[in-house]
């Protein structure tokens, strides 16, 4: 079947099988920042924004995105780069596999909670797993990033 999705502001059409998942359609279309880690919506590396809402694209049928807007980290270029500075400054950018999904979710979190508490940050990002860093470096980076954003 044929669907049309606006990805990072550009309309794209795809010929898909009905049961295709959004993550596969995006990766095949070259959006390799969308990663596949677990295929059960549990790890967060496939996170994209659907009409501004973070969803696990590995568990979202592509057909449902027809006529909607998808944002990947590529569509948040300058914001992601800014967050990257803070992650890099902490050394928290390890293997990087969780990072794009993480950056997208942080962006969504900022919209809902401009000044979140530690607990709110941990809870909002609980679905973004990281096996490398132990999370503390990411927390240090996020807090400094939010401080700077709100200043």
């Amino acid at each position: 079947m044929n669907i049309t999705i606006t990805i990072n502001g550009r309309e794209r059409s795809f010929d898909i099988r009905p049961a295709d998942m959004l993550a596969d359609v995006l990766r095949d279309a070259g959006f390799v920042e969308v990663k596949k880690g677990c295929d059960t919506g549990s790890c967060g590396v496939c996170t994209v924004l659907l009409d501004g809402t973070p969803i696990p694209s590995c568990s979202y049928f592509a057909a449902r995105a027809d006529g909607h807007e998808v944002t990947t980290v590529g569509g948040l270029a300058s914001e992601a780069a800014e967050l990257a500075e803070y992650l890099v400054a902490e050394g928290a950018d390890q293997c990087g596999f969780c990072a794009p999904g993480f950056a997208i979710t942080v962006h969504a979190m900022k919209k809902e909670f401009p000044s979140p508490t530690d607990e709110q940050i941990r809870h909002y990002l609980a679905g973004n797993l990281c096996r490398c860093s132990g999370y503390e470096g990411q927390m240090r980076a996020i807090k400094r990033y939010l401080e700077a954003s709100n200043a």
């Binding site: 950018d93 390890q94 293997c95």
Partner: protein
């Protein structure tokens, strides 16, 4: 110490960080050719079976299917998939495809097709007839079980490792120093306990991925998410009977390793398809396949006996291990030996010590390399037993440790006797700040021996526990790393290293080391790594070898580079080399006369120096003559709900001696990441099977790693320490962080409740059952 350095001991930014966060193509699957055949592996649904027939005819007829391969299409060459130095301490007990399958998921056949859906559809058309064989699933009943998992005549070890496959023994070992039985008999107090550690899954977020293709010269090119490109090349060459000169292996960015990618899991299958079809091929494992069909940590049973003098001197330790290597024995002996070699030397003042046991085959997922590598299992047993001994002696657990633990300038006879797979190397420990680590850690956590546990709210207890640990820095006289430096016009250096950055930042820290030695900025070093065609040999990233072994190689290369630079300048200016000095940017004579700047000379030597033009390059190789241990003291504070058994980590204080921290931020992250993995093994993670050997925990809904909500606080500090044999005083930091949480948390639970738990993980049901049992014991005692 750190103030004297310009580049090391600085928290320089990782060179790849920003690109990864914004999602630039970086990982193997991002680069796979669009037209690569997708390889789908048909896997055994049985834990143990003989393939009677495979009918591939229907599958081959499906449009889009390029190839279907079975064991009949592959030369029968036994090999090992373990990325270890040659000769491997691993039995060569695996065939790429075999007519016997030995665990649920063992490879049966390959289907290569134009896309994943076609490959899967074709796989469903392959008809396999199995004769189901009885399976050995209990590792405590594996030795001399009538069911023999490896009866094949062709399999063999590379040197004696105690390989007795007819008994289901993959390897065995024993050593004794002094007379253990006599000292035990003579000890005032003895503690004899048995501990169990479970299989754990790595859960690196990037599933194993590789693609292969034949280049213009017909050479097999392999791009893979691997921790050891050179071992991979050798193993593939052996298994596929291809000369090594016709294979190239490259590693792009990896999405996590932790040992998961220290073996060859997917490359042979992609390679087989490329060789059969001439076309590019790729294998991208699903998460389910990673869980079911790569490796887990070795499950172990550890029997410990400790004897001590009434005054607290530990006199003897006996550690016997039964380790479960699953269907194949890749890391059987080596992980097992590290269980003793990187734990027992902590208590070096004993009069006698013994270590031994067996590693057995079972029809379960093979076990392999995983951060900690035996030391973490041994640490759980030893550090729990030490607390139990403290309890028996009526001595504070911290004091018991500080009385008996190893100190700087000392040695342990275990170093000489136990290596990895064979004998070790004698070593005086030239850097050991365990005393500081313990003192500082206890202060950070607020360790008060008379108040290790207290009720913070009705039914909620706060309690503390501790453990100490050691690891290694590379495998002496076995791990080797090399580096090439080359001066480029514009005054920068190419640094080519075989070392493998798993995301840890080793590319960055090795650049820092080169820069420090050369006297230049890290910005002047451009790193290229992990390509068997372009970079010099390195064993790869494991055994905590990168900083110490590869780092020392870089130091040597940099020293040789300075020599080469001075020689070239001396030659150009017709002066003696002994008067040429280099400060990192300028060449002068010893009386202060300026000769030339580095930047200017870098262009001159390539363009302007006429007959004297040349490329200025230098190399260095290093293998350790010892493996200086990093040390750590871990202190946990837990909060325990006595009615549900739920344990939460409220605070974890870790003080680490890894020598100089080449990059302090990255070192801290290594420890923090290691702690979370150790806490995961202590509290949450467990590889579980059905009674027929099917894995139940085969996705991330069922198998849970810690989330950022699970640990409230980590406090990581480093001791000031300097290892003279290490690059700028560094040891290693990659594994040490993972070892202490198991015993520290078990000890804290004991301190909270009087319930001693000797198996893992410490889940709410296990903890509650232990609390209830302890209460019943107390009640019946009263």
């Amino acid at each position: 110490m750190p103030e004297q350095f310009k580049e090391v001991a600085r928290s320089r930014a990782k060179i790849d960080g920003k690109g990864l966060v914004v999602g630039r193509p970086a990982y193997t699957d991002d680069f796979a050719p669009r037209d690569a055949l997708v390889v789908h592996i048909i896997r055994s649904p049985h834990a143990h079976a003989h393939i009677l027939s495979i009918d591939t005819s229907a599958a081959l007829k499906l449009p889009g299917v390029a190839s279907v391969l079975t064991y009949k299409d592959v030369a029968r060459i036994p090999y090992t998939r373990a990325g270890q130095g040659h000769p491997e301490p691993s039995p060569h007990d695996k065939f790429i495809l075999d007519e016997f399958v030995r665990y649920v998921g063992d490879e049966v056949a390959l289907v290569a097709a134009v896309d994943e859906v076609t490959a899967r559809d074709a796989a469903a058309l392959v008809k396999v007839e199995y004769e189901i064989l009885p399976a050995v699933l209990d590792f405590e009943n594996a030795i001399d079980n009538p069911v023999i998992i490896h009866p094949e005549p062709e399999i063999h070890d590379m040197f004696p490792i105690g390989f007795e496959p007819t008994r289901n023994v993959a390897a065995a070992y024993t050593m004794e120093i002094g007379d253990v039985e006599a000292i035990l008999a003579d000890s005032d107090v003895t503690v004899e306990r048995t501990y169990y550690t479970q299989a754990q899954a790595h859960v690196a977020l990037e599933p194993h991925t590789a693609y292969t293709y034949l280049d213009l010269h017909g050479r097999l090119n392999v791009v893979t998410s691997t921790q050891n490109p050179f071992h991979t090349r050798r193993l593939l060459g052996q298994a596929l009977a291809i000369p090594l000169r016709n294979i190239r292996v490259q590693k792009p960015r990896i999405g996590g390793g932790f040992g998961a990618k220290q073996h060859v899991h997917v490359e042979p299958y992609a390679a087989l398809v490329t060789l059969a079809t001439g076309r590019p091929a790729k294998v991208v494992m699903s998460r389910k396949e990673v869980f079911e069909n790569t490796f887990s940590r070795h499950q172990m049973r550890i029997d410990i006996r400790i004897g001590a003098h009434r005054d607290g001197r530990i006199r003897v330790i006996d550690m016997q291990v039964l380790s479960n290597t699953g269907a194949y024995g890749e890391h059987a002996l080596t992980v097992f030996m590290v269980g003793g070699s990187k734990t027992l030397p902590l208590y070096n003042k004993v009069e006698a010590v013994r270590f031994g046991g067996h590693i057995v085959y079972t029809n379960k997922i093979p076990a392999g390399a995983f951060r900690g590598y035996g030391a973490i299992q041994g640490n759980f047993a030893l550090e729990s037993a030490v607390d139990e001994l403290a309890q028996e002696l009526g001595i504070d657990a911290l004091t018991l440790r500080t009385t008996n633990m190893i100190a700087e300038g000392e040695t342990s006879e275990v170093f000489k006797i136990m290596g990895e797979g064979g004998e070790g190397v004698e070593m005086v420990v030239e850097s050991c700040k365990l005393d500081y680590c313990v003192k500082r850690g206890s202060s950070l956590i607020g360790w008060n021996p008379s108040r290790l546990a207290y009720e913070i709210a009705p039914g909620r207890i706060r309690a503390k526990g501790m453990a100490i640990a050691m690891q290694g820095s590379g495998i002496p006289l076995i791990d080797m790393g090399s580096a090439h430096l080359e001066l480029q016009d514009d005054g920068f250096f190419k640094l080519h290293i075989g070392a493998t950055d798993l995301g840890t930042g080793s590319d960055t820290i090795l650049a820092q080391i080169a820069a420090e030695e050369l006297g230049v900025s890290s910005d002047d070093i451009v790193v290229y790594a992990s390509d068997t065609d372009q970079t010099p040999y390195d064993v790869g990233a494991y055994a905590s070898s990168t900083t110490y072994v590869s780092g020392n190689a870089v130091v040597k290369a940099a020293r040789n580079m300075k020599q080469a630079l001075r020689e070239a300048v001396a030659d150009k200016f017709n002066v003696g080399i002994d008067i040429v000095q280099f400060d990192g940017s300028r060449f002068t004579t010893s009386d202060g006369t300026f000769l030339v700047g580095l930047k200017e000379f870098s262009a001159d030597t390539l363009y302007h120096n006429g007959a004297k033009m040349k490329t200025i390059a230098a190399s260095g190789s290093f293998t350790g003559e010892k493996s200086p241990p990093p040390y750590m003291a871990g202190f946990v504070e837990i909060e325990l709900d006595v009615e549900t058994g739920k344990v939460d980590v409220v605070d974890y204080a870790a003080v680490v001696d890894c020598g100089t921290t080449i990059n302090t931020n990255l070192a801290r992250i290594q420890v923090e990441g290691g702690l979370l993995q150790g806490i995961g093994m202590a509290l949450y993670e467990d590889v579980r099977y059905t009674e027929s050997g099917h894995m139940l925990t085969n996705d991330m809904m069922q198998y849970k790693i810690p989330t950022r909500q699970d640990v409230a606080k980590l406090t990581v500090e480093f001791a000031e320490s300097y290892e003279p044999s290490g690059p700028f005083g560094a040891k290693s930091v990659g594994e040490i962080g993972i070892d202490t949480p198991l015993a520290a948390i078990a000890n804290a639970i004991f301190n909270a409740t009087g319930a001693r738990i000797r198996e893992l993980p410490l889940t709410p049901p296990r903890v509650l059952a232990a609390i209830q049992a302890a209460r019943r014991t107390l009640d019946s005692a009263n």
